[in-house]
Symmetry: C2
Subunit: 304 residues, 2 copies
């Protein structure tokens, strides 16, 4: 019953400094984090672009997880690079360097073999390109989408055109307030659900996520960890676990959404334990299930 997942986004080399160490030019990017996490639940098809400096060793990570790379373009030039540094409590991040390289002129082309994909995740790219991707796909069962303040501030009309075709928007709390122009999160969510997405998932970092879906709200905490090494990619890893679990169930309702959110939170909790995709690319299924049960223990209280 498992359906297929398609992701469009960045594949990058990240250089990250945290109070606990640093990593240099490791495999990262939204499509990478998403696809590795989703691969534990459903077959994943990736659309992205890399440069001639992208090696077989890097490809191995994708092969290991049987991620379909028919949609990965090798362009002339260098792969997208990003460098950033985190504050002592990991709550603030400073971008040190961004080199878009081949990602600058990325125009996603969906291979024929991908056109009937059922679950689609549009990573954080230009909203015009996100819409263009949707027009190349036949009839997805579910479309989820990420964006960022850069597009909310610079291309809000394009973003709104795209959102009209999106089922689930997955953004953080400041983006929610900015997109709606309303400080109260509940009011902001209701306004955004009027723009197209029937469901809004608000990521709140170490505080977890809130899902708004009609008049229903679901709150999930982040998993409290003693050792958080690198938060980079946690949001895309969350989305990968969430959409992957939904595609696995291939059933769209409040029950599968809530379970998906917990699976997403589980994958995000593993992601931050090491740099890049190091931890998430090396998981066993029983580790995922054990942490799911720990989330249940973390949140359980008896009914009245």
């Amino acid at each position: 019953m498992t359906a297929s997942v398609l992701v469009v986004g960045s594949v990058a080399f990240d250089s990250v400094k945290t109070p606990f160490g640093e990593a240099n030019e490791i495999l990262g990017g939204s499509a990478t984090h998403f696809s590795v996490a989703a691969s534990y639940f459903a077959p994943v098809r990736l659309v992205g672009v890399v440069g001639t400096d992208f090696s077989d060793a890097h490809l191995q990570t994708f092969h290991k997880h049987k991620i379909d790379l028919d949609g990965l373009t090798f362009a002339n030039g260098r792969t997208f690079r990003w460098a950033g540094e985190y504050s002592f409590d990991l709550n603030d991040r400073r971008t040190l360097d961004t080199q878009l390289n081949v990602f600058q002129n990325f125009i996603p082309v969906i291979p024929d073999s991908y056109r009937s994909s059922e679950y689609v995740f549009l990573g954080n790219i230009d909203p015009d390109l996100q819409l263009n991707v949707l027009q190349q796909i036949k009839r997805p069962r579910l479309v989820a989408c990420d964006t960022m303040n850069f597009w909310i501030e610079g291309k809000v009309d394009s973003l709104k055109r795209t959102l009209a075709h999106v089922d689930i928007l997955i953004i953080n709390d400041s983006e929610t307030r900015e997109l709606a122009g309303v400080p109260n999160l509940v009011k902001a969510a209701n306004k955004i659900m009027g723009m197209g997405p029937k469901t809004l998932i608000v990521k709140r970092g170490e505080y977890g996520v809130l899902m708004f879906h009609g008049s229903s709200i679901f709150a999930a905490p982040a998993f409290p960890l003693e050792d958080v090494y690198d938060p980079t990619g946690a949001g895309d890893t969350f989305a990968g676990g969430f959409i992957g679990a939904l595609a696995h169930a291939d059933e769209i309702n409040e029950r599968t959404f809530r379970r998906g959110i917990i699976f997403g939170s589980v994958m995000a909790s593993f992601n931050v334990e090491r740099f890049g995709v190091e931890r998430v690319s090396d998981l066993k299924r029983n580790e995922i299930d054990a942490r799911f049960r720990q989330f249940k223990a973390l949140t359980h209280f008896e009914e009245l």
Copy 2:
């Protein structure tokens, strides 16, 4: 089976400005917010001080909730006054004015009729006074305590002496990090549980609370509200609901702690809907229970 609750803390006149309006010299203070919330669950005894400007109308609020005022001293002078202003998203608060007045020389005296109180909450006062209060009480079943950065920075040795006699410490996340001197919240909690309290409850404002208790962690969200008018006193209202519910059950275990935390969160969610104690002093029991059930709906997901 319901046991009695004793609270020591401030009774004040608060002047509050929020983006939604302002209130002038309304009844507030930690002991006020705590006792009104706790009164829905258990009989409450208050220890505090007010000035000659404290009127019968103010006393009415306490009488309405059958709060025992044998421990409320009327001193010569003016009642404690505090004034503050909140930012547009209510997440930042600026103190505009503090006049300690009669609270400056407050030395809590526990009346004989209070000495066998079973559940004790030490509101945020000088830790030497908190310890002095404990020495006046016979054999409490449970002692909970609040504090703030002012005491962590200025009287940490006194605070640690007090903490050695405390079962539950209830503070916010920045206080947790500061008291432990550790940025990671889980590590900080473990360090604080080594100072005396077997249980630490970390208040995170709009993100809810985390309870650490041995190796168990419980996460409860705050209730997402469309209209938040005034967060003043939410933390003490939470503590009142929590300790009140524990005293009502008069059973100290993981199950009653978790239920207590939800009742505390329910009371705090009502507190912020209006200024001061306006909303919490006017609740019906079925409203409390209905919101408890809404918390269950907010956090529920199926087991694996």
